[in-house]
Symmetry: C2
Subunit: 399 residues, 2 copies
């Protein structure tokens, strides 16, 4: 399906307007579309006809019961295109959605431990199965987004510090996966995508400035500011594992792994519990459960973890002033943990900031990946890239 010979700017605006309206008021008639978009009835009709011919839209019924002529109702056709979201963590999660954002299927399995190339094969297999199970074909997939831990270079898309999947950094993931699956692939840091997931379907909807504080194996924060994700010059924004909190930032382990992560990361929590005299734990979960069961050592470790997390949150608040902080990750999403952090924060921050626990949990990453894949597809079809390209507001000239 080659993109048609590029409508004029003004037509593209109309197309986009109509598409937006279809997205949000799904079964809708041509007349109502005209009212909603503010376009004239003729323009609306022309656009709908074009969409119909492209297979983007389909009639879904007629109105009845109202006085006046019946109207044909339209909705976005599932045939209009599919998108794929992938979360490549300890488990591999893949989800399929249609162009309207309806999630059609979701599947996950343990990630192939042998490393990069095998994982890519696994993704390809799982995606193909998902597509077949939903009576579609991988070629219908028009946009793919992959969530991965590590630093993703925002220009090249290279994965630069993938801690979990061996050999991923040496692969041209965008190229290889795109070739395997036959559609454009984008990569984004998993924490950033978890943030977007919470903003789309989770606990951070309709909030303009959000930070997603992920505490798990690693520590990181995703920032959404001014309606945009903050990636940073090298894609390393939010790598707060390196914050000088919780110890001497010049110490060997701290420098290597990051000072804060050394204390608050999953390994750090377990280590601190052992150092305090606790024993026989190999997961953070156990430490938290013992704390809840009354183990004073575990309680101390949890409280200290909350204190350090509060300091990290205070740092983020002082720096970017978000409206909301979402706690996620295997450590951060523990029940009651958000309350503990909030209590710490009350004594630290000059003004209170709401703290919530992630509601999507492990699904946040894949949901966020879907949302970005969807946005990319929408922008490809109805974007105004040429407009932005034609009109850079460049640096003002010297006097």
């Amino acid at each position: 399906m080659p993109s048609q010979p590029m409508a004029s700017v003004t037509r593209q605006l109309s197309r986009r307007s109509v598409f937006e309206a279809l997205l949000h008021r799904s079964p809708i008639s041509r007349a109502d579309l005209a009212k909603v978009t503010g376009l004239s009835k003729q323009t609306t009709s022309e656009v709908i006809d074009a969409f119909d011919q492209q297979g983007l839209v389909r009639p879904i019924g007629r109105t009845s019961g109202n006085v006046g002529r019946t109207a044909v109702l339209y909705e976005l056709s599932p045939e209009g295109g599919h998108v794929l979201g992938i979360d490549l963590g300890a488990r591999l999660t893949v989800a399929l959605a249609d162009i309207a954002g309806r999630v059609l299927a979701e599947a996950d399995e343990p990630t192939d431990g042998r490393g990069g190339a095998w994982a890519l094969d696994q993704i390809s297999r799982l995606a193909g199965r998902l597509a077949r199970d939903n009576h579609t074909h991988p070629s219908r997939i028009r946009s793919i987004v992959l969530a991965t831990p590590g630093v993703v270079n925002p220009r090249s898309g290279a994965v630069e510090m993938a801690p979990n999947i061996a050999g991923l950094g040496n692969l041209n993931v965008v190229g290889l996966l795109g070739e395997k699956l036959g559609s454009p692939v984008a990569i984004e840091n998993d924490i950033n995508l978890a943030l977007l997931g919470e903003m789309w379907h989770g606990c951070a909807q309709n909030v303009a400035n959000v930070a997603f504080l992920a505490l798990g194996t690693g520590v990181g924060v995703g920032l959404y500011v001014n309606g945009q994700l903050v990636r940073g010059e090298n894609g390393a924004a939010g790598e707060i594992g390196y914050l000088p909190i919780g110890g001497d930032p010049l110490q060997a382990e701290a420098r290597l792994q990051g000072c804060l992560e050394y204390q608050v990361g999953a390994a750090g929590v377990i280590r601190r519990y052992r150092e305090a005299g606790g024993s026989d734990v190999d997961s953070v979960r156990q430490v938290f459960e013992r704390a809840q069961a009354g183990d004073p050592l575990a309680s101390g470790v949890v409280d200290e973890t909350a204190r350090l997390t509060g300091l990290a949150a205070a740092t983020v608040i002082a720096t970017v002033d978000p409206q909301l902080i979402v706690l996620g990750g295997s450590v951060g999403a523990r029940p009651d943990f958000a309350d503990k952090v909030a209590r710490v924060l009350l004594r630290l921050a000059p003004r209170p900031v709401e703290i919530r626990t992630s509601t999507l949990g492990k699904r946040a990453g894949v949901v966020g990946a879907l949302s970005v894949a969807l946005s990319r597809l929408h922008d490809e079809l109805f974007g105004l890239a040429e407009l932005a390209a034609t009109l850079p507001l460049p640096p003002l000239r010297a006097s």
Copy 2:
């Protein structure tokens, strides 16, 4: 000069294109404008005719020496509109520029110490004098931006924590100043504007992600990310005086003033020098001069200041990953201080980040104010606000 009856989107695009070309290649003919913008000669000519009638543009000469017909060269007319930049700190600085960004005049004097209303009067007087001295009239000024310390609410424009100017928080500055001067006024935090100043005419040109670390009476950072200023939900982004660095963040003074600012702010530097046994100083400058002269106590204080600044910089780097950090403010702009901080940072940050000293110094704020005033005027004349309003890419709908 009422804005004309709002051209269509496509005409507005053309107008803007032509304007951009005029801005950057100033003496330019209609034919060359057509080549540069990609518009047809016809359209270009129509736009130029309209600009001419509006007084936005004026013929400035003709080409000669080339084969072929001579071309009439145009440039943006100084009569097209003026903008005013104001920096309201310990001193009051005001600068006047024309629509092309040519700085026409600049003046400063000590700020009226009696507080808010007097300061506004003073601004009004100084602005009027500047306008008269440049053979223009205040009514020609079409956009004004005021730099002020404190937290500026991004929605209301209210100044919420102005530490220096008494009573400024209780005034409707936008309204009062706008009435006095007869044109729209915007307020922005002085550090943010200093950052924009450095990006426009200073040491941060052509850099996409920048942090401006201001160390003076107060401590703060201005962040420029993804082509936008980061203001935060309450305009409190960059208030890193409250970072939990350099002491116990729960201590009384630290909580009140901000933990980091208590140590690194001008008052903190002097206090630390006194506490170390030094005496007879009442300015940071003296401490730095003594350090340079070999006073070991002063040296220690300066080194500790650099260490804490390095920690703050590391925090900013870990959080937003800028490409460049600019040091400014009365403390931060000290010569050699940037080097000291860079050395600290080398041992802290996972990757090196360039550090520069502000080149605009005290002028950074007013230059930044000019740049924003200019952008606002340009957007008013050639902006695509309606486009953005017509086409929100709204939150994706639930499945």
